[in-house]
Point group: C2
Chain length 192, copies 2
């Protein structure tokens, strides 16, 4: 990356499951099979899908990402949350205390989540090397400038730095649509 540009990726709705919830939904000893590896090293889209159920509606066939995590996390857009009828808050990944309840229905069973449904706060994964190059640090809030017919400047973008990451910005599809960021797109990182 020559200047301070990063690649912007859209994250569709998806689920991270705990091993316990995975087995409750798919059966004892079930393991996720990678269908496609994602931009973040080791993360993959699996073959497995479940239905997400809320008080007002169901979204069928939501993809499960692997590997499993400590706590089940359902990442939605506001569009999705409205279909389900739940009040999912904007949160960073893993910050699930008091997030929205919903139910998951798989081929072997149902899991009622008391919390776990969130709308992901827009963020950039940085390698430590890129973070240094961009002059940003973990947890810093930056802006990202886009262009085109629906040009906008994302504010409240959280920087996350880890040697486990690859450098990519993640937004959801409401944000992709609002900024008309289709295909291979980049944005310019701007310190506040």
């Amino acid at each position: 990356m020559a200047d301070n540009r990063i690649i912007i990726e859209g994250s569709g709705r998806h689920i991270h499951l705990s091993q316990t919830d995975l087995e409750a939904l798919f059966g004892t000893g079930f393991e996720l099979v990678a269908k496609k590896y994602l931009s973040q090293p080791g993360e993959f889209a699996s073959e497995s899908r479940v239905d997400v159920v809320g008080p007002k509606g169901t979204i069928q066939g939501v993809g499960i990402l692997g590997p499993t995590r400590a706590q089940t996390q359902v990442e939605l857009s506001y569009t999705d949350a409205r279909i389900l009828g739940i009040n999912a808050p904007i949160r960073e990944s893993g910050n699930l205390a008091g997030s929205a309840p919903c139910a998951l229905v798989g081929p072997a069973g149902k899991v009622d989540l008391a919390e776990g449904a969130i709308i992901a706060k827009r963020h950039i994964h940085f390698t430590p090397e890129d973070a240094e190059k961009f002059g940003v640090v973990d947890k810093e809030i930056v802006q990202v400038i886009t262009d085109g017919d629906r040009a906008l400047i994302f504010d409240e973008v959280v920087v996350r730095v880890s040697p486990k990451y690859a450098t990519y910005m993640h937004v959801d599809y409401d944000e992709i649509n609002a900024a008309a960021l289709f295909g291979e797109v980049t944005g310019i990182v701007k310190k506040k």
Copy 2:
């Protein structure tokens, strides 16, 4: 309005019909009945709804706004356009040449539109008095700053000035969701 703040309103998907298309869909001599008057003087949500049909899907019961216009115009979000399977372009209202085709199905008939489906370019309606106060002119492109968890700065916001308008910014629901602009919200107009 003390400072340079404007009210931001979300526009859901809706249709403006020509009198010819209105009668083709609802029957000869049909007239729209106002259910709710909108922020722009004289504009109203009617009781009437039609289905919008594209090659990949249908959106049922899309509301028709009144009064009728010279040309039928279907205003969608990218989320909607993807459901229908059409390539609706970002356009200013009324600029329909070469916009996307779709079909409308009403109780009395069907209308095949060769063009007319657009995704509205984000814009601000200004009264001439407010435009002067804000120091902006018709067709000017400005930015609008929002705040909150999903704060962002909308760029490419078109200013439209007319004595027929009331001063409001209009964005679609992808943009409302992307900026988490729920309830009564305002933004700050910034000249570029």
